[in-house]
Protein backbone atom coordinates (compact mmCIF):
# COMPACT_ATOMS: atom_id res chain seq x y z
CA UNK A 1 0.00 0.00 0.00
CA UNK A 2 2.74 2.31 0.89
CA UNK A 3 6.09 1.59 -0.63
CA UNK A 4 9.03 2.40 1.65
CA UNK A 5 12.76 2.33 1.03
CA UNK A 6 15.46 2.39 3.74
CA UNK A 7 17.92 5.26 3.39
CA UNK A 8 21.09 6.15 5.31
CA UNK A 9 21.45 9.72 6.62
CA UNK A 10 24.53 11.26 4.98
CA UNK A 11 23.88 14.97 5.54
CA UNK A 12 21.67 17.05 7.81
CA UNK A 13 20.34 20.14 6.03
CA UNK A 14 18.01 21.57 8.69
CA UNK A 15 17.75 19.76 12.03
CA UNK A 16 14.33 18.07 12.49
CA UNK A 17 13.25 19.23 9.01
CA UNK A 18 15.40 18.14 6.10
CA UNK A 19 18.25 15.69 5.59
CA UNK A 20 19.96 13.95 2.69
CA UNK A 21 19.74 10.18 2.62
CA UNK A 22 21.53 7.65 0.49
CA UNK A 23 19.42 4.90 -0.96
CA UNK A 24 21.85 2.55 -2.74
CA UNK A 25 22.86 4.49 -5.82
CA UNK A 26 20.76 7.60 -5.16
CA UNK A 27 21.04 10.61 -2.85
CA UNK A 28 17.90 12.53 -2.07
CA UNK A 29 16.62 15.28 0.18
CA UNK A 30 13.95 13.95 2.52
CA UNK A 31 11.72 15.52 5.14
CA UNK A 32 12.56 14.41 8.68
CA UNK A 33 9.88 16.33 10.62
CA UNK A 34 8.08 13.10 11.54
CA UNK A 35 11.13 11.41 13.10
CA UNK A 36 12.70 14.28 15.07
CA UNK A 37 16.48 14.58 15.41
CA UNK A 38 18.45 12.26 13.18
CA UNK A 39 22.14 11.38 13.28
CA UNK A 40 24.58 10.75 10.46
CA UNK A 41 24.66 7.04 9.64
CA UNK A 42 21.17 6.33 10.98
CA UNK A 43 18.74 4.46 8.73
CA UNK A 44 15.31 5.90 8.01
CA UNK A 45 12.33 4.39 6.19
CA UNK A 46 11.48 6.75 3.35
CA UNK A 47 8.02 7.07 1.85
CA UNK A 48 7.19 9.70 -0.79
CA UNK A 49 10.07 11.99 0.13
CA UNK A 50 9.66 11.85 3.92
CA UNK A 51 11.10 9.67 6.67
CA UNK A 52 8.23 7.90 8.45
CA UNK A 53 10.33 6.15 11.14
CA UNK A 54 13.87 5.24 12.16
CA UNK A 55 15.00 1.66 11.60
CA UNK A 56 16.05 -0.09 14.79
CA UNK A 57 19.24 -2.05 14.06
CA UNK A 58 19.04 -3.99 17.32
CA UNK A 59 15.49 -5.18 16.63
CA UNK A 60 16.47 -6.12 13.07
CA UNK A 61 19.36 -8.26 14.35
CA UNK A 62 17.11 -9.89 16.96
CA UNK A 63 14.53 -10.93 14.36
CA UNK A 64 17.28 -12.54 12.27
CA UNK A 65 18.78 -14.30 15.27
CA UNK A 66 15.40 -15.72 16.14
CA UNK A 67 14.92 -17.18 12.67
CA UNK A 68 18.51 -18.39 12.41
CA UNK A 69 18.24 -20.15 15.77
CA UNK A 70 15.09 -21.83 14.53
CA UNK A 71 16.79 -22.90 11.30
CA UNK A 72 19.75 -24.31 13.22
CA UNK A 73 17.67 -26.13 15.80
CA UNK A 74 15.15 -27.49 13.32
CA UNK A 75 12.77 -27.82 16.23
CA UNK A 76 9.21 -27.17 15.12
CA UNK A 77 8.27 -26.05 18.62
CA UNK A 78 10.61 -23.07 18.54
CA UNK A 79 10.18 -19.86 16.60
Amino acid sequence: MCLGVPGKVVEILEPSRWAVVEIPGVRRRVGTALVGEVRLGEYLMIHAGYAIEKLDAEQAAQSLELWEAMAGAGDPGQV
Partner: protein, 370 residues
Protein backbone atom coordinates in the same frame (compact mmCIF):
# COMPACT_ATOMS: atom_id res chain seq x y z
CA UNK B 1 22.98 -2.01 8.97
CA UNK B 2 23.20 -2.55 5.21
CA UNK B 3 24.47 -6.10 5.82
CA UNK B 4 21.72 -6.77 8.35
CA UNK B 5 19.06 -5.57 5.91
CA UNK B 6 20.52 -7.75 3.15
CA UNK B 7 20.09 -10.81 5.37
CA UNK B 8 16.31 -10.29 5.28
CA UNK B 9 16.51 -11.61 1.71
CA UNK B 10 18.51 -14.74 2.65
CA UNK B 11 17.30 -17.61 0.46
CA UNK B 12 18.54 -20.40 2.75
CA UNK B 13 16.69 -18.99 5.74
CA UNK B 14 13.68 -18.43 3.50
CA UNK B 15 13.57 -22.13 2.64
CA UNK B 16 13.55 -23.09 6.32
CA UNK B 17 10.79 -20.60 7.11
CA UNK B 18 8.80 -21.77 4.10
CA UNK B 19 8.97 -25.37 5.34
CA UNK B 20 7.74 -24.24 8.76
CA UNK B 21 4.91 -22.22 7.18
CA UNK B 22 3.82 -25.31 5.21
CA UNK B 23 3.84 -27.46 8.37
CA UNK B 24 1.92 -24.89 10.39
CA UNK B 25 -0.62 -24.35 7.58
CA UNK B 26 -1.34 -28.07 7.64
CA UNK B 27 -2.01 -27.95 11.37
CA UNK B 28 -4.23 -24.88 10.90
CA UNK B 29 -6.14 -26.71 8.13
CA UNK B 30 -6.70 -29.66 10.46
CA UNK B 31 -8.25 -27.31 13.03
CA UNK B 32 -10.38 -25.43 10.48
CA UNK B 33 -11.37 -28.46 8.40
CA UNK B 34 -10.31 -26.61 5.20
CA UNK B 35 -7.45 -24.50 3.87
CA UNK B 36 -6.85 -21.36 5.96
CA UNK B 37 -7.61 -18.07 4.19
CA UNK B 38 -5.14 -15.27 4.96
CA UNK B 39 -5.69 -11.79 3.58
CA UNK B 40 -2.77 -9.51 2.83
CA UNK B 41 -4.35 -6.09 3.21
CA UNK B 42 -1.51 -4.11 1.65
CA UNK B 43 -0.85 -3.81 -2.08
CA UNK B 44 2.91 -3.80 -1.50
CA UNK B 45 2.50 -7.19 0.22
CA UNK B 46 0.47 -8.43 -2.76
CA UNK B 47 3.42 -7.52 -4.97
CA UNK B 48 5.99 -9.00 -2.55
CA UNK B 49 4.07 -12.30 -2.30
CA UNK B 50 3.77 -12.63 -6.07
CA UNK B 51 7.38 -11.62 -6.69
CA UNK B 52 8.62 -14.23 -4.21
CA UNK B 53 6.45 -16.89 -5.89
CA UNK B 54 4.66 -17.67 -2.62
CA UNK B 55 1.29 -18.41 -4.26
CA UNK B 56 2.82 -21.31 -6.15
CA UNK B 57 4.85 -22.55 -3.17
CA UNK B 58 1.88 -22.48 -0.79
CA UNK B 59 -1.09 -23.12 -3.09
CA UNK B 60 -1.87 -26.56 -1.61
CA UNK B 61 -1.65 -25.34 2.00
CA UNK B 62 -3.03 -21.82 2.36
CA UNK B 63 -5.19 -19.37 0.40
CA UNK B 64 -3.54 -15.96 0.12
CA UNK B 65 -6.21 -13.39 -0.67
CA UNK B 66 -5.55 -9.76 -1.63
CA UNK B 67 -7.45 -7.03 0.19
CA UNK B 68 -8.34 -3.34 -0.09
CA UNK B 69 -4.83 -1.95 0.35
CA UNK B 70 -3.87 -0.45 -2.96
CA UNK B 71 -4.61 3.28 -2.57
CA UNK B 72 -5.25 3.96 -6.23
CA UNK B 73 -7.47 0.86 -6.52
CA UNK B 74 -9.78 1.80 -3.66
CA UNK B 75 -10.17 5.38 -4.91
CA UNK B 76 -13.77 5.76 -5.97
CA UNK B 77 -14.59 6.54 -9.57
CA UNK B 78 -16.36 9.73 -8.46
CA UNK B 79 -13.03 10.98 -7.05
CA UNK B 80 -11.20 10.15 -10.29
CA UNK B 81 -13.87 12.06 -12.20
CA UNK B 82 -13.57 15.03 -9.82
CA UNK B 83 -9.80 15.10 -10.50
CA UNK B 84 -10.46 15.01 -14.25
CA UNK B 85 -12.69 18.07 -13.77
CA UNK B 86 -9.96 19.82 -11.79
CA UNK B 87 -7.38 19.05 -14.48
CA UNK B 88 -9.61 20.69 -17.10
CA UNK B 89 -9.56 24.05 -15.32
CA UNK B 90 -7.25 26.44 -17.13
CA UNK B 91 -5.70 27.89 -13.98
CA UNK B 92 -4.94 24.47 -12.42
CA UNK B 93 -1.69 22.50 -12.45
CA UNK B 94 -2.69 19.08 -11.14
CA UNK B 95 0.04 17.10 -9.38
CA UNK B 96 -0.24 13.41 -8.52
CA UNK B 97 1.66 10.23 -7.81
CA UNK B 98 2.29 8.39 -11.09
CA UNK B 99 -0.01 5.46 -10.34
CA UNK B 100 -3.15 7.54 -10.63
CA UNK B 101 -2.38 8.86 -14.10
CA UNK B 102 -3.82 5.97 -16.10
CA UNK B 103 -6.74 5.00 -13.87
CA UNK B 104 -9.87 5.27 -15.99
CA UNK B 105 -12.68 7.45 -14.69
CA UNK B 106 -16.12 7.37 -16.25
CA UNK B 107 -14.82 9.55 -19.10
CA UNK B 108 -11.11 9.17 -19.70
CA UNK B 109 -8.04 9.32 -17.48
CA UNK B 110 -5.67 12.03 -16.28
CA UNK B 111 -3.18 10.79 -18.88
CA UNK B 112 -5.72 11.47 -21.60
CA UNK B 113 -6.47 14.89 -20.14
CA UNK B 114 -2.76 15.64 -20.24
CA UNK B 115 -2.55 14.52 -23.88
CA UNK B 116 -5.45 16.91 -24.54
CA UNK B 117 -3.47 19.85 -23.14
CA UNK B 118 -4.23 19.81 -19.41
CA UNK B 119 -1.33 20.62 -17.07
CA UNK B 120 -0.99 17.32 -15.18
CA UNK B 121 2.37 16.52 -13.57
CA UNK B 122 3.68 13.47 -11.75
CA UNK B 123 5.51 14.19 -8.50
CA UNK B 124 7.45 11.87 -6.21
CA UNK B 125 6.49 13.70 -3.04
CA UNK B 126 3.89 16.25 -1.91
CA UNK B 127 6.86 18.46 -1.01
CA UNK B 128 7.68 18.60 -4.74
CA UNK B 129 4.15 19.91 -5.34
CA UNK B 130 4.73 22.68 -2.77
CA UNK B 131 8.00 23.63 -4.50
CA UNK B 132 6.11 23.74 -7.78
CA UNK B 133 3.52 26.11 -6.25
CA UNK B 134 6.41 28.40 -5.21
CA UNK B 135 7.92 28.24 -8.70
CA UNK B 136 4.60 28.91 -10.48
CA UNK B 137 2.92 31.72 -8.51
CA UNK B 138 0.45 32.44 -11.31
CA UNK B 139 -0.83 28.83 -11.30
CA UNK B 140 -3.11 27.02 -8.87
CA UNK B 141 -1.20 23.86 -7.89
CA UNK B 142 -3.46 21.04 -6.68
CA UNK B 143 -2.08 17.81 -5.22
CA UNK B 144 -4.27 14.71 -5.39
CA UNK B 145 -4.14 13.29 -1.88
CA UNK B 146 -4.57 9.54 -2.22
CA UNK B 147 -3.02 7.02 0.14
CA UNK B 148 -3.44 5.58 3.60
CA UNK B 149 -2.06 6.48 7.04
CA UNK B 150 1.48 6.35 5.67
CA UNK B 151 0.84 9.14 3.18
CA UNK B 152 -1.71 11.37 4.92
CA UNK B 153 0.78 12.82 7.48
CA UNK B 154 3.13 13.85 4.65
CA UNK B 155 0.31 15.60 2.87
CA UNK B 156 -0.63 17.33 6.13
CA UNK B 157 3.01 18.45 6.44
CA UNK B 158 2.98 19.75 2.86
CA UNK B 159 -0.06 21.90 3.62
CA UNK B 160 1.61 23.30 6.73
CA UNK B 161 4.80 23.91 4.75
CA UNK B 162 2.83 25.82 2.09
CA UNK B 163 1.18 27.96 4.80
CA UNK B 164 4.56 28.67 6.43
CA UNK B 165 5.96 29.77 3.07
CA UNK B 166 2.91 32.00 2.46
CA UNK B 167 1.86 30.06 -0.63
CA UNK B 168 -1.83 30.65 -1.26
CA UNK B 169 -1.84 28.77 -4.58
CA UNK B 170 -1.38 25.27 -3.10
CA UNK B 171 -4.32 23.03 -2.30
CA UNK B 172 -5.09 19.33 -1.92
CA UNK B 173 -7.92 17.19 -3.23
CA UNK B 174 -8.41 15.07 -0.10
CA UNK B 175 -9.06 11.41 -0.88
CA UNK B 176 -7.08 9.68 1.88
CA UNK B 177 -8.26 6.46 3.44
CA UNK B 178 -7.90 5.01 6.93
CA UNK B 179 -7.46 1.26 6.77
CA UNK B 180 -8.85 -0.07 10.12
CA UNK B 181 -12.47 0.86 9.23
CA UNK B 182 -12.08 -1.15 6.00
CA UNK B 183 -10.91 -4.20 7.98
CA UNK B 184 -13.91 -3.80 10.25
CA UNK B 185 -16.22 -3.71 7.22
CA UNK B 186 -14.64 -6.89 5.83
CA UNK B 187 -14.90 -8.64 9.21
CA UNK B 188 -18.61 -7.81 9.37
CA UNK B 189 -19.32 -8.75 5.73
CA UNK B 190 -21.04 -12.17 5.68
CA UNK B 191 -19.94 -12.70 2.06
CA UNK B 192 -16.25 -12.42 2.93
CA UNK B 193 -14.55 -15.43 4.50
CA UNK B 194 -11.13 -14.90 5.98
CA UNK B 195 -9.28 -16.43 8.90
CA UNK B 196 -6.36 -14.09 9.52
CA UNK B 197 -4.76 -10.83 8.40
CA UNK B 198 -1.26 -10.05 7.22
CA UNK B 199 -1.28 -6.40 8.31
CA UNK B 200 0.35 -3.47 6.46
CA UNK B 201 3.87 -2.66 7.64
CA UNK B 202 4.07 1.02 6.83
CA UNK B 203 0.53 2.25 7.59
CA UNK B 204 0.95 0.42 10.89
CA UNK B 205 4.28 2.20 11.44
CA UNK B 206 2.20 5.36 11.79
CA UNK B 207 -0.69 3.80 13.75
CA UNK B 208 1.26 1.42 16.00
CA UNK B 209 0.30 -2.10 17.04
CA UNK B 210 -2.02 -1.20 19.90
CA UNK B 211 -4.59 0.54 17.66
CA UNK B 212 -5.04 -2.75 15.78
CA UNK B 213 -5.88 -4.86 18.83
CA UNK B 214 -9.61 -4.70 17.97
CA UNK B 215 -9.07 -7.22 15.17
CA UNK B 216 -8.35 -9.98 17.68
CA UNK B 217 -10.15 -8.58 20.74
CA UNK B 218 -13.47 -7.78 19.05
CA UNK B 219 -13.50 -10.12 16.06
CA UNK B 220 -11.40 -13.06 17.25
CA UNK B 221 -9.20 -12.92 14.15
CA UNK B 222 -5.39 -13.20 14.31
CA UNK B 223 -3.20 -10.56 12.70
CA UNK B 224 0.51 -10.02 12.16
CA UNK B 225 2.06 -6.69 11.16
CA UNK B 226 4.55 -7.61 8.47
CA UNK B 227 7.57 -6.12 6.72
CA UNK B 228 8.09 -6.46 2.99
CA UNK B 229 11.08 -8.75 2.48
CA UNK B 230 10.34 -12.42 1.73
CA UNK B 231 11.51 -13.43 5.24
CA UNK B 232 9.21 -10.80 6.77
CA UNK B 233 6.19 -12.12 4.90
CA UNK B 234 7.02 -15.74 5.78
CA UNK B 235 7.54 -15.03 9.47
CA UNK B 236 4.24 -13.13 9.64
CA UNK B 237 2.42 -15.99 7.90
CA UNK B 238 4.02 -18.42 10.32
CA UNK B 239 2.76 -16.32 13.23
CA UNK B 240 -0.88 -16.18 12.11
CA UNK B 241 -0.95 -19.85 11.08
CA UNK B 242 0.43 -20.87 14.49
CA UNK B 243 -2.34 -18.87 16.11
CA UNK B 244 -4.98 -20.52 13.91
CA UNK B 245 -3.54 -23.96 14.69
CA UNK B 246 -3.59 -23.12 18.40
CA UNK B 247 -7.08 -21.57 18.22
CA UNK B 248 -5.70 -18.24 19.47
CA UNK B 249 -6.19 -14.69 18.21
CA UNK B 250 -3.75 -11.86 18.85
CA UNK B 251 -2.35 -8.94 16.90
CA UNK B 252 1.41 -9.45 16.81
CA UNK B 253 4.12 -7.14 15.51
CA UNK B 254 6.55 -9.16 13.35
CA UNK B 255 8.15 -5.95 11.97
CA UNK B 256 9.70 -4.61 15.22
CA UNK B 257 12.66 -3.00 13.44
CA UNK B 258 10.20 -0.33 12.31
CA UNK B 259 6.80 -0.63 14.02
CA UNK B 260 6.34 0.53 17.62
CA UNK B 261 3.53 -0.21 20.05
CA UNK B 262 2.13 3.34 19.86
CA UNK B 263 3.17 4.08 16.27
CA UNK B 264 4.66 7.42 15.30
CA UNK B 265 3.07 10.00 17.65
CA UNK B 266 4.35 13.00 15.65
CA UNK B 267 2.73 11.68 12.48
CA UNK B 268 -0.53 10.90 14.26
CA UNK B 269 -0.57 14.40 15.78
CA UNK B 270 0.01 16.26 12.50
CA UNK B 271 -2.69 14.19 10.84
CA UNK B 272 -5.10 15.10 13.65
CA UNK B 273 -4.11 18.79 13.45
CA UNK B 274 -4.92 19.15 9.76
CA UNK B 275 -7.59 16.50 9.12
CA UNK B 276 -10.60 14.99 10.82
CA UNK B 277 -12.03 11.52 10.04
CA UNK B 278 -14.96 11.57 7.64
CA UNK B 279 -17.27 9.29 5.74
CA UNK B 280 -15.54 8.10 2.58
CA UNK B 281 -16.46 6.09 -0.51
CA UNK B 282 -14.27 3.09 -1.34
CA UNK B 283 -14.32 1.21 -4.60
CA UNK B 284 -15.69 -2.22 -3.74
CA UNK B 285 -16.61 -1.45 -0.14
CA UNK B 286 -18.95 1.49 -0.60
CA UNK B 287 -19.25 4.31 1.93
CA UNK B 288 -17.67 3.66 5.31
CA UNK B 289 -18.04 6.03 8.28
CA UNK B 290 -14.81 7.48 9.68
CA UNK B 291 -12.69 5.92 6.93
CA UNK B 292 -11.57 9.09 5.15
CA UNK B 293 -10.01 12.42 6.07
CA UNK B 294 -11.32 15.91 5.47
CA UNK B 295 -9.67 19.23 6.27
CA UNK B 296 -10.49 20.90 9.54
CA UNK B 297 -10.11 24.32 11.18
CA UNK B 298 -7.89 26.86 9.43
CA UNK B 299 -6.71 24.19 7.00
CA UNK B 300 -9.98 24.11 5.03
CA UNK B 301 -8.48 27.05 3.12
CA UNK B 302 -6.27 24.43 1.40
CA UNK B 303 -9.17 22.16 0.45
CA UNK B 304 -9.36 21.95 -3.35
CA UNK B 305 -12.96 20.72 -3.15
CA UNK B 306 -13.98 24.01 -1.51
CA UNK B 307 -11.64 26.24 -3.46
CA UNK B 308 -12.86 25.03 -6.83
CA UNK B 309 -16.42 24.03 -5.83
CA UNK B 310 -15.76 20.49 -7.07
CA UNK B 311 -18.76 18.20 -7.27
CA UNK B 312 -18.52 14.46 -6.76
CA UNK B 313 -20.90 12.75 -9.16
CA UNK B 314 -21.51 9.04 -8.56
CA UNK B 315 -21.39 6.99 -11.77
CA UNK B 316 -21.50 3.30 -12.55
CA UNK B 317 -18.16 1.47 -12.79
CA UNK B 318 -17.14 -0.19 -16.07
CA UNK B 319 -19.34 -3.16 -16.88
CA UNK B 320 -17.80 -6.49 -16.01
CA UNK B 321 -14.76 -5.07 -14.17
CA UNK B 322 -14.46 -7.10 -10.96
CA UNK B 323 -12.00 -4.73 -9.26
CA UNK B 324 -14.51 -4.01 -6.48
CA UNK B 325 -14.99 -7.71 -5.68
CA UNK B 326 -11.25 -8.34 -5.86
CA UNK B 327 -10.65 -5.57 -3.29
CA UNK B 328 -13.05 -7.28 -0.88
CA UNK B 329 -11.24 -10.58 -1.32
CA UNK B 330 -14.35 -12.17 -2.82
CA UNK B 331 -12.75 -13.23 -6.08
CA UNK B 332 -9.26 -13.52 -7.55
CA UNK B 333 -8.10 -11.73 -10.69
CA UNK B 334 -8.28 -15.00 -12.68
CA UNK B 335 -12.04 -15.09 -11.99
CA UNK B 336 -12.59 -11.96 -14.08
CA UNK B 337 -13.50 -12.53 -17.73
CA UNK B 338 -11.58 -9.42 -18.79
CA UNK B 339 -8.30 -10.41 -17.05
CA UNK B 340 -5.46 -10.82 -19.55
CA UNK B 341 -7.88 -10.54 -22.50
CA UNK B 342 -9.64 -7.19 -22.72
CA UNK B 343 -7.85 -5.88 -19.61
CA UNK B 344 -4.04 -5.78 -19.58
CA UNK B 345 -1.47 -3.33 -18.15
CA UNK B 346 -1.20 -1.73 -21.61
CA UNK B 347 -4.94 -1.22 -21.87
CA UNK B 348 -6.44 -1.51 -18.37
CA UNK B 349 -10.18 -1.51 -17.71
CA UNK B 350 -9.91 -0.88 -13.96
CA UNK B 351 -7.46 0.43 -11.38
CA UNK B 352 -6.43 -3.03 -10.08
CA UNK B 353 -4.68 -3.56 -13.43
CA UNK B 354 -3.24 -0.01 -13.59
CA UNK B 355 -1.52 0.37 -10.25
CA UNK B 356 1.82 -1.31 -9.71
CA UNK B 357 0.34 -2.46 -6.39
CA UNK B 358 -2.95 -3.68 -7.83
CA UNK B 359 -3.81 -7.36 -7.47
CA UNK B 360 -4.55 -7.73 -11.20
CA UNK B 361 -1.24 -6.11 -12.17
CA UNK B 362 0.64 -8.40 -9.75
CA UNK B 363 -1.14 -11.53 -11.04
CA UNK B 364 -0.63 -10.46 -14.66
CA UNK B 365 3.07 -9.98 -14.13
CA UNK B 366 3.89 -12.93 -11.90
CA UNK B 367 1.12 -15.51 -11.66
CA UNK B 368 0.20 -16.40 -15.24
CA UNK B 369 1.34 -19.82 -16.34
CA UNK B 370 1.41 -21.42 -19.76
Amino acid sequence: MQEILARFKDAQLGKVLLRRVREEAERAADVLGRLPVCMEVCGTHTMAISRAGLHGLLRDRVVLQSGPGCPVCVTDQADIDACLDLARRREVTLTTFGDLLRVPGSRGSLEEERAGGADVRVVYSPSDAVDLAAALPERQVVFVGVGFETTAPLVALSVREAATRGLTNYSVYPSHKLYPPALRALLLDPEVRLDAFLLPGHASTILGRRRLNFIAAEHGVPGAIAGFEPLDVLSALLEILRQLAGRRAEVVNTYPRLVREEGNPVAVAIMAEVFTPSRAAWRGLGELPGSGLEFKGQWVAHDAIRRFQVERVVTRPRRGCLCGEILRGKVKPFDCGHFGRTCTPVSPLGPCMVSSEGACAAYYRYERTG
